[in-house]
Symmetry: D2
Subunit: 335 residues, 4 copies
């Protein structure tokens, strides 16, 4: 049994804790949360051990690995501490909003053998992964274009937007990772367009965008188109299309069930899409824990490593500059 | 050029005339309709030759073949006359509502070399035919079950119902033919259930049913389920499913276009289905003319012959008795 | 916390145990299995309490309710014992293969206040339930026809077939329950056709059928068509269609993910269907436990009661006779 | 009857001629083709009048309107001549490959009352039009993003590529028009990326691209993403998606029929997509003739005018520059 502690016991931390508990080779070693009251009460009700501090977690001989689900600004520090303590770590994305901080963290943990895995959960979605697998197996021949549609079901709260680092670092970053996952090659040119259409006032206040289109290009000429919106009223719009010389693979949207209605004015009407990531990627989150456990127990390399986190952020930085300057930005200009 | 005359110049006759005119190897030799006024006016406007009588059509050296689209009670007589005149004939279904009359007609034309083709147009639908072809090519292995869904978009006018011979002879007859087409074997046992749900009063008046379920069984044990309704508010519901030892083929419904809407309460809502047979089977009607022309010009056997019309009616007779007596009726009990 | 003991710790019992453990208001009180060795080992590995006998389960003050997942011949006895002990019970279907035994059991437990729930899990499938809800909410107007397609992914082992009671009592019984669930009215006439197409020799040996079509009719005239096969190579074919005066609702098949491939010879090719009931109805099994817990904790009536089990078996008996005698059998002829 | 002459009697001209002949308010006045032999033979076989010269067409009192289906370099001249002769004209796209020539043509015909219609046939596709109509009717709220997927089924012949003016002027130009049609607003910023992946050698020879991604932005902030490929092995990939504040409308691909196959390794496999524009847009070409006839007979403005042709070419010029310079190009930089 691999004993995993969860740092951060909010909504996402609790979901991870539940997946850890359900995994046949893993056990929940306990939790830590900086905000005592609410999380404590939940932990007590569930009979989960509470650690008094982060230090106590890293010092405990009853903790084999940690999962970081705290707020973004703490991620890099905690990753460094976990590596220093020799505890394998699965960290929620992003590593940090500052590319410089990520670079510093990378240097600090360089050379350490402790597994570090990044929580790009969409890589573990059965449909998206099947697209990647089809590409890698040659089922669509040589890959030419990837099209990623990724729209949230609703605008995030203002406090979230304020701390998010902007749409490219917060939301598109998942798609940058998916692009790399499917392309199988590092994109080196980034072109991006941003608009304020969902909540123009809010976006203007934070110099952010709520509607963006990005085109990535890799040295081979392969292209990836990403389109994002902060609000799709019909649910969480998550599609990945790979187009190649011998065919096309598409991971389509998912709905809570497959019931459709035929009526006098419309046919084939299904339910709205699954509403957000906790529902849409429920199986993927469980599979992510499985991959983390495998990486540690079998000594396999983590399927999504620190470098993947750094690369995705690098593309975000390039996209931000591309919008600002109205031109294609090469990743070599960033780092 | 094969010169084809059309007998009966109502809505269906005109559609056939138009398809004949558009066929590269066929020409419209002229039309005859018993109801002078309306049809004449159309014929004149379109510059189509009018024949003064059926006799004139059959006597004309400028008529190579005839298409019968007159009212049902005239079909058997006209088929006999056409065969007597040596004019190949494509006759709209059914041959006659009386099984005895059909048997008599069969005897009368027996031995004649003149091609007689029946208008079971659904055999020429690309989707239904692809199901049949998949079955015959072994793509689904040994055939086990056929499921035919066939629902009209709306209740026919009372006058039509009155003269229709009942749902089994008028509507299910198409499905009996489709069952034979896909099964590739003669069904010999007929079980059927009838209900009055769409217009109970009208149905009771004519001792008819508007909602029926039929199960056919062939000597090999293969089954075919047919379900009919006189009114599907979402359009003309026409599906054929073939299930076998190695897979399943389904001919799905068709809509006027492939636009779908995703909204806050429903996703994937498409337009209602194509409304009725003139629209749904438009390409099939054209292909039917093509098959008729091929049968004559190339000396091929008609794809749907007189015997197919007789067989379908025989199954209708068995179904009527099965409902009446609440038991499985063997076709050998009918004829 | 509702403490539930599981009787029978085979594959299905273990799945139920896992769902009970994961339910926030329920806990696994322990398990009993007649076959010591294998089950014991699993129980020990999972740290689950083992009861030495059924009697010990019913006597325990630490057991609030029981779930029966033992072999079919023990069901009726265990239900009677559970009711005698005042332990609410969720029993896997069927109650018994003998209609007489079910009637006797019904009499024995008549009047007892102890909740008895039957495991017709498909009622808890989100898609099938959405069809039922659409019907009951009037979304498709007056219901006219229900079409249930239900095909297993592969022929069951010979030992299973031998003890199954035949396809109608073992497999179609789920569809009889679904028919009643969607119809909202008791079917009173049963017509059925059986064939031996998947494994003719095996079926002949047990006087069973592997391919059946059933038509049910209710007093209102509403019809329900059921079609079954013991083997669909493309997976577990589970569809429910409700057709009415104002529209149609369909619960379509489910696949493990929504990835499709477009290639030179085929487009839209998805993965095979989810393979069998443990996968296809995974969420439904969890929801079933939820309904059982709610029934007990909130004093609600069980959503699927003993009478539902009896009614489904009654329809199976009628279907068996309908095939044997080639006629429509009224349920009043059975019981 | 509106008598329409067809200039250019190749494959496309013949298709237009056939649609004109089939239109109830139009008649084929005759044809002219510069290449005598082949076209003449067809015209004779079909009994179509041949004009000896373009001048004869424009001079004829038996020609009410002309359709230009000649080679691209002749379009602008013929449009000018048609306008000078007062003959309403439907001209295949593009007007010319040179933006300067288009501007000159625009000046020459400025002020003339003669209707000039451009053959952007996709506007008449029922599905694409339904998307546009949904947008304009407010069915998806405020429009935010348009995504156009447009991939040819196979690389065009070298001679065609050589004379095409490049992918943006030849192929994307249809999508630029569709973007304007759906956006309902002039895009003013063009960003584009081009790759050589399908036939790198051929593309390099003509300094062309076979795989492109374009992002358009309008003053309101609305975005349109276009992706093109010269070869999709699964058929002619033609999709239009409009995403807005209240929903999404998608015009999906079309296949020759709706038959799907379920097998042991794949489910839902349909036929490849309709192969190319003559098939995919067959109904749209007929509707285009209908719109042309209506524009003339009812005095309605042409649904697609000269300015639409000019605007689409302007976007193509901007895209070419955007790729060359790796930056967003404003349309005001072009003209």
């Amino acid at each position: 049994m691999l004993r995993i502690a969860v740092l951060g016991f909010g909504r996402i931390g609790r979901m991870h804790a539940s997946n850890i508990a359900a995994h046949p080779q893993a056990a929940l070693a306990g939790v830590f949360d900086a905000h005592e009251a609410a999380a404590d009460e939940v932990a007590e009700r569930l009979g989960v051990r509470k650690f008094p501090s982060v230090a106590a977690v890293f010092a405990s001989s009853e903790v084999d690995a940690v999962l970081i689900a705290t707020s973004t600004p703490t991620h890099a520090d905690l990753v460094e501490q976990a590596v220093a303590a020799g505890k394998p770590v699965l960290c929620e994305k992003p590593i940090d909003l500052s590319f410089a901080r990520v670079e510093a963290c990378a240097q600090k943990i360089a050379g350490a053998a402790t597994p570090v895995m990044l929580g790009f959960v969409r890589r573990f979605d059965a449909g998206h992964r099947a697209v990647r697998d089809a590409v890698h197996a040659g089922a669509i021949g040589d890959l030419h274009q990837v099209v990623i549609t990724s729209r949230d079901p609703g605008m995030a709260p203002t406090a979230y937007i304020e701390a998010s680092g902007g749409i490219f670092r917060d939301m598109t970053i998942h798609d940058f990772d998916m692009a790399r996952f499917v392309l199988g090659e590092e994109p080196t040119e980034v072109t991006a367009v941003g608009s304020r259409l969902v909540d123009p006032e809010l976006m203007a206040r934070y110099e952010d965008w709520d509607t963006v289109s990005v085109v990535l290009k890799a040295p081979s000429g392969r292209q990836c188109i990403i389109n994002n919106s902060r609000r799709a009223v019909f649910g969480y719009d998550q599609r990945v299309e790979a187009f190649g010389s011998a065919g096309m693979a598409i991971s389509e949207n998912r709905r809570p069930h497959m019931m459709t209605i035929h009526g006098a004015t419309a046919t084939g009407s299904g339910a709205p899409l699954l509403n957000f990531f906790i529902d849409r990627y429920a199986e993927a989150f469980a599979a992510e824990i499985g991959a983390f456990v495998d990486a540690i127990e079998k000594g396999w390399p983590a399927e999504v490593g620190f470098e993947d986190g750094r690369r995705a952020l690098l593309l975000a930085e390039a996209a931000i500059r591309a919008v600002a300057e109205g031109r294609t930005v090469r990743t070599s200009e960033i780092g």
